[in-house]
Each structure stands twice: as structure tokens, then as C-alpha cells.
């Protein structure tokens, strides 16, 4: 019953959801990422493998910062009583952006110098993990606060994590290993676990809290 309702409503939703995506944030992050990726090409520099890896990780972070704004919905207080539940709308947002993000990442990979490019599959896994982490953080912010646009908070948290994680993460995890490190494959198993864990957490944060459990933290910026 509910499934058919979801199926029936989704096509009508696509247009409005497509229009309300935070295009400016996504476009700014996308363009900036492409610009950074093209830097070695433009300046004619031949970066070392570790520099290219750092560049790609940085670009993945830029993309994730764009995605941190994806679940911002200025109309969330109006859309709460819609028959289409929030997880479906959020999933639709993600589904609409995924092909664009994939194309963008492919372009980024093609722009980086092939001579020093790290293994594509593993770096893509890292990028996916960071992106999913950003989305999960956004979903968590939407779930826990009344904030309509938690994007800046999520971006700040993501940035802080990105700066502190390489400093504070246990050395044994080797999440930020170099490609010639023997721990590289094991590190990417951990990245995969991280991505899946973040995806599950994000999905769990989807449903609108209703009834008795509807307790929310009033965000600092909640409408007065």
C-alpha cells in the first residue's frame, strides 16, 4: 500500500525536488574542484604521487562540502505533513545528484596528471566515503535539529573533521596512507566500512520523528 503510494508520487516529485536542489552550492563546489584539479595541467607542474593523492583527497573534500548542503530544504516545515515521507524525498535528492557527481569525479580524475595518479578505484572509494559521510552528517543535522538549512554547520563539522582526522586518527588505521604503503589495501577496507556505516546512519536519520519520539534539539538558528 505504502510502496505503491511512494511509487505513484515520486515522478511528480522529481521536478520540484530538482528545482529546489541547492544548485549554487553544488555548482560552486564543482567548479572549484575542477579548477583545483586542473591546476597541475595549467601550471605545467609534474606533481609527485603523494601530491596528486593529496590533491584528489582535497577535491573529494570540496565535493563533500558541496554535498553537505544537499539536504538543506528551506520548506522543510511546510513539507513535513506531505504523504511522501522524508526519506523518500532525501533519497530522491541524492539520486538526482549522484550521476552528476559521478561525472564530475570522472572529470576530476581525467584532469589530474596520469603519470602520478593513484589507483583510481581506491581513491574513488575514499571520495565516496567522504561524500556519504557529508550526507550522513547532513541527515543527522536535519534529524536532530529544527534547522531548515543546516548546511553551514555540517560543512564546518566536515572541515573540522578533515583537519583533525589526519592528526588524531590512530596511526594503525592508516586511513590516509600513501599508495605505495603496504597497508593501502587494508586501509581501503576500512574506508569501505566507513562508507557503509555512514550510509546506514544517514538512512536511519531519514524518517521524520513523529508522535512520542518527536523530540528535537532546538538549533541555535531555529526560527524564532
Amino acid at each position: 500500500m505504502r510502496v505503491t503510494a511512494v511509487r505513484g508520487v515520486t515522478p511528480d516529485l522529481v521536478g520540484p525536488v530538482w528545482r529546489t536542489l541547492p544548485w549554487r552550492a553544488l555548482a560552486a563546489a564543482g567548479i572549484l574542484g575542477l579548477l583545483v584539479a586542473a591546476t597541475p595541467l595549467v601550471t605545467g607542474g609534474e606533481p609527485a604521487p603523494w601530491q596528486t593523492l593529496l590533491l584528489l583527497r582535497g577535491i573529494a573534500l570540496i565535493g563533500a562540502l558541496g554535498l553537505a548542503f544537499l539536504l538543506d530544504d528551506p520548506a522543510r516545515h511546510l513539507t513535513a505533513p506531505l504523504p511522501t515521507p522524508r526519506p523518500v524525498r532525501q533519497a530522491l535528492r541524492v539520486a538526482l545528484v549522484t550521476p552528476i557527481a559521478a561525472l564530475w569525479w570522472a572529470a576530476v580524475l581525467l584532469l589530474t596528471p596520469s603519470a602520478s595518479r593513484p589507483p583510481v578505484g581506491e581513491v574513488t572509494l575514499e571520495a565516496v566515503a567522504v561524500g556519504v559521510l557529508a550526507l550522513a552528517a547532513a541527515a543527522l543535522a536535519v534529524r536532530l535539529t529544527d534547522e531548515a538549512r543546516p548546511g553551514p554547520f555540517v560543512a564546518a563539522v566536515l572541515l573540522l573533521t578533515a583537519v583533525l582526522a589526519p592528526l588524531l586518527a590512530p596511526e594503525g588505521w592508516a586511513l590516509f596512507a600513501q599508495a605505495d604503503d603496504p597497508r593501502w589495501p587494508a586501509a581501503h577496507d576500512r574506508w569501505a566500512v566507513l562508507a557503509v556505516g555512514a550510509a546506514v546512519a544517514g538512512a536511519l536519520c531519514g524518517p521524520e520523528p513523529l508522535g512520542r519520539g518527536a523530540r528535537r534539539i532546538r538549533g541555535a538558528g531555529a526560527p524564532v
Partner: protein, 506 residues
């Protein structure tokens, strides 16, 4: 009905101006409090203080040169600055986000005054960073082994960076009011450009436009040979900060004479500092001449300690006591004429390639002369004592670096046996941190080398009580230090097992 007489407008104008300033300050105070208590800034400061404590406890092995310690305070405030940028930007766009902008427009405080208050709210964060920087530097300066001079201009760079980044966040907030994503993206760009991309090496005029130019090399130079336009750079940063802050005010509609004058002043300071620091980045002929003189014929200050002479650059004179202590300990173990021979310990540097160059100093060929570098503490102590021991045994540093026979056993025993933990010192003084097999032994000039057999004998010697071995060393000094003595013979004379392998002197 009686008419009501309404008197208006007379008392409005004059008090309003005054209230404007006070209101700006009140808003700045409020925003500064929120900024300092915001989560990103709190975390950044906590991480910064933790880093200071963690690093300064062991930095420079307890013997810092303050002309290096001042530069070491510069890079971490950038991360604090990025957090301040993030929150300052958020504070500026807050009213836009919450739709309270129209409410503010009916207040006496015009938008440009509010922007000025936001720019001022960054100042306490910069001051707090300055406190941290001063704390870190003072800690270094209070260490007993500290020498040299710090530069206030170098110390100012960290807080000024926080200021620049903070007002940059305010300007960005004014320019892109609806674009909350602009600040995080700018932070990533700044991270790339300045934090991760600060590669040491060629420091030309253009690289000095970055907030922090850290030319760090393995060797310390006397402070007058550094050749860093630190004062101009501080002026440049201050000018840039003023410029960006007032630009934000102008963008918000401030057009008063004070704002224009300030903007012109800031621009003038930034351009003056930028041009003059670019000129100072390439060494002047006088500086080049001074560096060459210091490398070839340095003017050293000499001090006598117990018969030997210790010559150092003026800033290092307080350290001659520490050198003398090590040299005396080594010499007291030596026998024969070496026991009382006056040594000349001279400090040598190679300053010709600037502060970030990795240079090596050739061994001295003058008899009874020992070279000491600019760093001290930690591994530098056994390295220096090895050089002293090699000179006592072989006569000159150059001859000492060519020892491959049994004399090496005596050299290493003299160098290490008096130390608190000889085996640890042996490990540290060897390039590969081993206590078995052959290895290179570091010294202030050319390295020494130990064969596998010599290492075994030295290890056995260090495991025995030093007094007994010391008596044997003194008794057989002439034979132990004769060129060509085999390691097996030295082991026999000193009363330990012969090595499994013979010397290899090819």
C-alpha cells in the same frame, strides 16, 4: 481636544554619532564573545594549545636557538585563523540566514557600522593567539639551553594571520551574503594554498606574499645572517588585514572620511611592506658578504675553559660551558699526552646558502682542533663527543674521519663511556640507530665509520664497568692510538673477546 506639541529632531543628531561608536563597540564585544565560545574556534584553540604543550616539551632537545623558535610559532595559528574565518563569516551572514536583516535596518546602527563591529570582533581572537604565541616563545626562552635572539616581527606573524583570515571571513560574508557555502570552500582553498603547500626552499619575492614563509633548515644561523624581511612582512600583513577589514566596511556602504583614510593607509602599508619584503627576500650584497665571511673567516668570541679554548659566534658563547663539560669528560678518560693537550673547539657554519639550505662542513685539517655546529642537545652531544675523541686519538678531524683500524674502538669508548646511558648514546650516534653490524657514526663534520667487529668490541666494552676499562685505556694509550693497530689487538689490550671479523681498511 487639546493639540499636542511634538518637539522633534533637535536632540537626535549629536548624540547619535556618539552612540554609534559605543554601539559598534558593544556589538563587537558581543560578537567577539560568541566567536571565542563557538565550537570551531574553541576546538581550534584547544588543539593549538595542546600542540604547543606537546611540541615545546621536547623541541630542539631543550636547547633552542631563539631565532628559530620565533619562526616555529607561525604555522599553527593559521589553523586557528581558518576556524575564526569560518565563524566570523557565519556571524556576518547570520541575520540573512534567519531573515532578521529587515529588523536590523530600523536600528540606529547602519550596516557598515555592524560590519565594522564584526571586523573588530576578530581582534580578541588574534590577541588570544598572540598570548599563545608569546607563551610558546617564552617557554622556549626560559629553557636553560636557550640561546640567540627572537624577533618580535616574526612573533607577530601568527596573530596577524589570524586577524587576516578573520577579516577575510567578514569580507566574504559581506560579498556573498546568501552563499553560506562560500566560507568552507574558501577554507579548503586556503588550506591548499598556505597550510599544505608551504614547501620550504626557494623563497623569492612572490612567495613572501603568503602569510607564513617558513624557511626551516637543519642548521641554525646567527640572527644577523638570517636575511628575512620579517618586519616588512609584519607590516604587509597588518596592511592587508586593515585593507580587507575596511573593504568589507566599504562594501557594506561605509563611505566616511575615516574609512577612506584607513583604507588608503592599509593599502599603503600593504604595498610598502609587500614591495620591501620582496626586495629583502633576495640577499643583499652586504648580507652575502657577511655570510661568506661567517662561513670562511668567522669573527668568533673565544673563551677559556680548563686549558682548552672554545670559540663561538657571539650568540652561542653561553653554550661554551656545555661544550667544555663534554670535552673535559672525554679528555679525562684519555691517556698519554692527549690527557692534557689543549684543544681548540671552534664553531663553524656554512651560511652561504641561506637558512633553509642543508649544508655539510668539511673536516678540519688543523691539529687538535674540533668543530662544533650550531645545534645542541640530544644526538648532538654524542656526535660532538665522538669528534673530540677522534681528534684526541688521531690528531685531526680529517684523520679521525679516515680511521678504519682498531683505534676506532678507543674513539667510541672515549666518546660514549662517560654518558648516562652509553648503549643508548651508541644507538643514537649511529646513522641507522643500530648497535650491531657496521654503521656510519655521525659527527659535526665528516662522519666516522665502524665495522661490524669494532661495533662488537665497543658493545662489549660498554657493558663492562668503565673504571676498569679506563685504567687499561690509559695504560696502553700509545699502542691503542698507534695507526695500524688491529681491532683484535685493541680488544686484547682492553680485555674483551676478539671480534669475529677482521678489520677491513680498503
Amino acid at each position: 481636544m487639546s493639540a499636542v506639541l511634538v518637539e522633534e529632531s533637535a536632540p537626535v543628531q549629536a548624540p547619535l554619532r556618539d552612540r554609534g561608536v559605543r554601539a559598534v563597540l558593544a556589538l563587537a564585544r558581543f560578537e567577539a564573545r560568541r566567536l571565542l565560545l563557538s565550537i570551531p574556534v574553541l576546538i581550534a584553540f584547544a588543539a593549538y594549545v595542546a600542540w604547543i604543550v606537546w611540541r615545546t616539551r621536547t623541541s630542539w632537545d631543550g636547547s633552542p636557538a631563539l631565532q628559530d623558535a620565533d619562526r616555529a610559532t607561525q604555522s599553527m595559528p593559521m589553523l586557528v585563523g581558518l576556524a575564526v574565518l569560518l565563524y566570523a563569516n557565519y556571524a556576518v551572514v547570520r541575520s540573512e540566514r534567519h531573515g532578521t536583516e529587515p529588523h536590523f535596518s530600523i536600528l540606529v546602527l547602519q550596516p557598515w557600522r555592524r560590519t565594522a563591529a564584526h571586523a573588530l570582533s576578530v581582534v580578541p581572537a588574534a590577541l588570544l593567539a598572540a598570548v599563545c604565541v608569546v607563551g610558546q616563545f617564552t617557554w622556549e626562552a626560559l629553557k636553560p639551553g636557550a640561546i640567540g635572539h627572537g624577533s618580535p616581527a616574526e612573533l607577530a606573524v601568527g596573530p596577524l594571520t589570524v586577524l587576516v583570515f578573520g577579516v577575510l571571513g567578514v569580507l566574504l560574508g559581506r560579498l556573498a551574503r546568501r552563499w553560506a557555502f562560500a566560507a568552507p570552500l574558501l577554507v579548503v582553498v586556503l588550506l591548499f594554498a598556505f597550510v599544505l603547500g608551504t614547501a620550504p626552499g626557494d623563497a623569492n619575492g612572490r612567495s613572501w606574499l603568503a602569510p607564513v614563509v617558513s624557511e626551516t633548515g637543519p642548521d641554525t644561523l646567527p640572527s644577523d645572517l638570517l636575511g628575512r624581511p620579517a618586519a616588512w612582512h609584519a607590516l604587509y600583513l597588518a596592511g592587508v588585514a586593515l585593507c580587507i577589514a575596511l573593504l568589507a566596511v566599504v562594501v557594506a556602504g561605509g563611505r566616511s572620511a575615516a574609512v577612506r583614510t584607513g583604507l588608503a593607509l592599509g593599502l599603503a602599508a600593504a604595498v610598502t611592506g609587500g614591495v620591501l619584503q620582496a626586495g629583502g627576500a633576495t640577499p643583499s650584497p652586504e648580507l652575502t658578504a657577511a655570510r661568506e665571511r661567517a662561513s670562511a673567516r668567522p669573527e668568533l668570541t673565544c673563551a677559556e675553559h680548563g686549558g682548552s679554548t672554545y670559540c663561538a659566534f657571539p650568540e652561542w658563547v653561553p653554550r661554551t660551558d656545555a661544550w667544555a663539560e663534554v670535552a673535559d669528560r672525554v679528555q679525562s678518560l684519555a691517556g698519554g699526552p692527549a690527557h692534557d693537550r689543549p684543544l681548540l673547539v671552534r664553531q663553524r657554519i656554512d651560511a652561504r646558502y641561506g637558512p633553509s639550505a642543508d649544508t655539510s662542513i668539511p673536516a678540519s685539517t688543523e691539529p687538535h682542533r674540533v668543530t662544533v655546529g650550531t645545534a645542541w642537545g640530544g644526538n648532538r652531544v654524542p656526535e660532538f663527543s665522538s669528534a673530540v675523541a677522534a681528534v684526541l686519538v688521531a690528531g685531526t678531524e680529517a684523520a679521525g674521519s679516515e680511521i678504519c683500524d682498531g683505534r676506532m674502538v678507543t674513539v667510541m669508548w672515549l666518546s660514549l663511556s662517560w654518558q648516562d646511558d652509553p648503549m643508548a648514546a651508541l644507538r643514537r650516534v649511529r646513522l641507522d640507530d643500530s648497535v650491531t653490524g657496521s654503521a656510519i657514526v655521525l659527527s659535526p663534520t665528516d662522519p666516522l665509520s665502524m665495522t661490524e667487529g669494532q661495533t662488537d668490541v665497543v658493545r662489549h666494552l660498554l657493558e663492562k664497568p668503565p673504571a676498569g676499562v679506563g685504567a687499561r685505556v690509559k695504560a696502553h694509550w700509545a699502542e691503542l692510538t698507534a695507526p695500524g693497530v688491529t681491532t683484535a689487538r685493541a680488544a686484547e689490550l682492553l680485555g674483551v673477546a676478539k671480534p669475529g671479523k677482521a678489520d677491513s681498511c680498503e
